[in-house]
């Protein structure tokens, strides 16, 4: 369950998010390349066999498609620009009401470079987040979050365990259909009705079992009204600051207020919450080191480019690999 050789899931997330912020500040092919390479190396050498460990592979595929699509669109819809013309695509006349959009035309080197850098930044961002999600055990992450968010975690775990059950049920029911001499591949009434009946029955049994195991047990202490009110006020303030941001008013004060109200609500809720945690993962030196390296990578990414900086950034982004070993495979 808890493997001492792996990092605290929040440390993985701090690393991933730091790299994501760093990518948005980098604006240079070499720096971005270094970050992407480091994230990929760390993930592929440290991920486990669990299903979520594939997040990075999926993330890379999605990012590749996005990159290619972005480049394709950049070539197809050109904007008249000064610069070195690489090649020209015949221009297609668009109707009057689409004035300002150009299909085809000259493709300049400057434009391609700019668009590629932009797409690569998005690519790196996706890779950084996907890397963190394939390294951090989602269940551990939920366990590491404040106790008030526990319910959401349980719902997620139940959902993930029910899916394989569902697949099994479908198989069994289709088999039973064949045994009754049904040649029809899929019948709404004959497949879905038993499936839903079974799913409902399962849900009731699970609910009963959870009830009988003390789920939702709440000792009567603390006032449940105050954290709820604080949360509402916080969300309202957040909404206000977002609207202010969009329409261009000053938003800083309301945002700070919103965040502090939400934190206060979580703090209160957590204090009233009597749940305890079994073998919580500890935040140790290694975790602090990874967090520090994440912050340094953000700082480095903002500096002007030199080759030395690129190498340093790569090494800093590679930090977790020096303090972890490959995860043990659990059966």
């Amino acid at each position: 369950m808890v493997d001492v050789r792996t990092l605290h899931p929040l440390a993985w997330w701090s690393w991933g998010i730091s790299l994501a912020i760093a990518t948005s500040r980098a604006g240079n092919f070499w720096l971005l390349g270094g970050i992407i390479l480091a994230a990929v190396i760390v993930t592929f050498s440290r991920r486990s066999d669990d299903p979520w460990a594939n997040a990075l592979s999926i993330g890379i595929k999605i990012a590749c498609i996005a990159l290619l699509l972005r480049m394709f669109i950049a070539i197809l819809f050109s904007i008249p620009e000064q610069g070195k013309v690489l090649f020209t695509i015949p221009r297609i006349k668009l109707p009057q009401w689409l004035a300002g959009i150009f299909l085809g035309g000259d493709v300049t080197q400057e434009r391609l470079q700019f668009v590629f850098l932009e797409s690569l930044t998005i690519f790196a961002l996706v890779v950084a987040i996907a890397a963190a999600s394939s390294l951090a055990n989602p269940k551990q992450t939920l366990r590491a979050l404040p106790g008030v968010l526990h319910e959401a975690g349980v719902a997620l775990i139940i959902a993930t365990t029910l899916i394989p059950h569902f697949v099994m049920s479908v198989k069994r029911i289709r088999q039973a259909r064949a045994l009754r001499g049904d040649v029809e591949k899929f019948g709404f009434k004959k497949t879905l009705v038993p499936l839903f009946e079974e799913a409902l029955e399962r849900a009731l049994i699970l609910a009963e079992s959870m009830e009988a195991r003390g789920y939702g047990h709440k000792p009567k202490n603390g006032n449940p009204l105050l954290p709820t009110l604080a949360m509402f006020a916080g969300l309202f303030a957040l909404l206000y600051s977002i609207i202010s941001l969009v329409i261009g008013n000053s938003y800083q004060i309301s945002l700070v207020l919103a965040l502090s109200l939400i934190m206060f609500s979580l703090y209160l809720g957590n204090r009233n919450n009597s749940r305890t945690k079994y073998r919580p993962q500890k935040w140790g030196l290694r975790e602090s080191f990874v967090l520090l390296m994440g912050v340094i990578s953000i700082a480095f990414a903002g500096l002007s480019f030199t080759l030395l900086l690129a190498v340093l950034l790569f090494l800093v982004a590679l930090a977790p690999i020096f303090v972890t070993s490959r995860e043990r495979v659990l059966t």
Partner: protein, 539 residues
């Protein structure tokens, strides 16, 4: 410890009263068995004890139930978990997390038990229930017996004084069942926990229990020592039936409940019984089913290897073995539902995988473990109509068959509202409507009481008389002793024994029925056999 006082329970929109005016008491620190027919309300009685009924299910409830001085009407089940815990009929469905260790702490985390205490209790429970090697295993990878032990451990971590279990051994093979029951018995004796279980297979549990609650009907519940209750109960294990049949020969009147007691009292019976003459039918007909070197794999796991068997019409073959030995895989391969790695299956000379639709059901009748999977209609009547249609038989055939198996059934009822036994009869009627030459049943006795089992036995015998071959996979040794002509024992995907029922069943301690254990070394299997040999009719 648990006191019922004038308890009445009625569900709205249902004609039948569930319980009326029940009063009884369960003393502390005892191993208590709840017995009764299917549908008598054993599960409901257990759920009443910890308040799941009516808090969770609804229903109109009157009277009081006091558990250790607390009124269940005033406390929700979740607030009583450190006092009374329940493990449901199918523990795997009640698992909330996905590894063994997380499952053990789920309840304690909700209760807010201090981390150090949790840590220690988890280790204690792992030791107590012999789960240490499983602590990091995924719950989905556990066998039936392991899952049952994990479920017990996961409620025991909350330190309850009372543990309720609903049919803890019904899905288990005899060995795993023995393990679970021995564990429960240890909890009673070492930790002083009051354990209440509901169970059909009395032959498995009676030797362990201190007291019996017999639910006769909605009004009448008898509580007493096993000897008192079993003196005249209609439900009884084979030992008791044997004893009752021979009662006039016996000087003592104490009913034996364990094999040891019975051997002491009936020990010399084996000597004066006329020597056993079992008529072993000589099979001359061409085999209806042939398997040649069949192998089946699930991914890297080998499920069956090198199975070669031939079965002829008129045989009733029992397939036995541990959970996970490959019984279900064998049966589904015979029905053509599995891709074979190697080998050949021939049913009436045809590869069953080639059979589809109507061709399949005229050759093979298959009743899967979840018999209700075969049902999809909204009422019994509709189901029967579909069956006549699917089978291509004159309308009313299935319905007549069902009437023979189950004389008084309400045709308007939804199949899900039938009891387990009634549902099996309905499925049997549907499958047998076509009179298939091969009938396959996978674990048919789960949740069946003795009466439903008798119906099943009659149906299977009738099938045999019509020259069909029957294959039954089951953990229920008493059922197999009653019907099987031949037994195949599987272990690890291989056939380890194949021979006449009398020989195989009496040669292994795990698979021997009670009568065989009592009268060993003579190879008697059932009460009826013994009584018939001395000219008595069955009780």
């Amino acid at each position: 410890m648990i006191r019922f006082n004038k308890v009445t329970l009625v569900y709205p929109y249902v004609q039948r009263t569930i319980f009326e005016d029940l009063s009884f008491e369960v003393p502390e620190g005892e191993f208590v068995l709840v017995m009764g027919d299917t549908g008598a309300g054993k599960s409901t009685l257990l759920k009443l004890m910890n308040g799941l009924v009516p808090h969770h299910t609804g229903g109109i409830f009157s009277g009081t139930i006091m558990v250790d001085g607390k009124d269940t009407a005033l406390h929700k089940p979740r607030d009583l978990v450190d006092l009374i815990a329940i493990v449901g009929q199918n523990p795997a469905l009640g698992f909330v997390t996905d590894t063994v260790e997380e499952e053990l702490v789920f309840g304690m985390e909700s209760l807010g038990v201090a981390p150090e205490v949790m840590r220690k209790r988890v280790e204690d429970m792992l030791d107590l229930l012999a789960l240490t090697p499983l602590r990091q295993r995924k719950l989905s990878s556990l066998s039936g017996g392991e899952a049952q032990r994990v479920a017990i451990a996961s409620v025991l971590t909350m330190n309850p004084k009372i543990l309720l279990l609903d049919e803890p051994t019904s899905a288990l093979d005899p060995i795993a069942a023995e393990e679970v029951l021995a564990t429960l018995s240890r909890l009673v004796h070492d930790l002083g926990i009051t354990v209440v279980i509901a169970e059909h297979k009395l032959e498995r549990v009676l030797q362990f229990v201190d007291r019996v609650i017999y639910v006769r009907n909605e009004r009448e519940v008898a509580v007493g020592f096993p000897q008192e209750i079993l003196k005249d109960s209609t439900l009884a294990p084979p030992i008791v039936h044997l004893f009752r049949g021979l009662a006039s020969e016996m000087s003592e009147s104490e009913i034996p409940l364990t094999v040891r007691d019975a051997r002491r009292q009936l020990g010399d019976l084996a000597a004066w019984l006329s020597p056993l003459q079992r008529h072993q039918p000589t099979i001359t007909a061409e085999p209806i089913l042939e398997l040649e070197n069949v192998a089946v794999n699930y991914g890297a796991k080998v499920a069956l290897k090198n199975i070669s068997v031939a079965i002829s019409p008129g045989e009733i073959v029992a397939v036995m073995g541990r959970n996970g030995a490959g019984k279900s895989t064998l049966l589904s391969s015979i029905a053509g539902l599995r891709k074979l790695e190697r080998g050949l299956v021939r049913v009436c000379g045809v590869d069953p995988q080639m059979l589809k639709g109507k061709e399949l059901i005229t050759k093979i009748g298959f009743i899967p473990q979840e018999a209700s999977d075969l049902l999809y209609a909204q009422s019994v009547e509709e189901e029967l109509r579909h069956s006549d249609n699917d089978n291509g038989v004159p309308s009313g055939t299935t319905s007549r068959l069902l009437a023979r198996l189950l004389p008084d059934i309400d045709a308007d009822v939804h199949p899900r509202d039938l009891s387990e036994g009634e549902r099996l009869c309905l499925v049997l009627a549907i499958v047998l409507a076509n009179n298939p030459p091969l009938l396959i049943l996978d674990e048919p006795t789960r949740g069946l009481d003795y009466r439903a089992k008798d119906r099943l036995i009659a149906a299977i015998r009738e099938c045999r008389d019509l020259k069909s071959a029957v294959i039954v996979a089951s953990h229920d040794v008493e059922l197999i002793a009653e019907i099987a002509t031949r037994v195949i024992v599987l272990a690890d995907g291989e056939i380890v024994a194949d021979g006449p029922a009398g020989e195989i069943l009496t040669s292994s301690p795990a698979f021997a029925p009670q009568v065989a254990k009592v009268l060993a070394p003579a190879q008697w299997l059932t009460v009826n056999e013994v009584l018939k040999s001395i000219g008595r009719s069955a009780p």
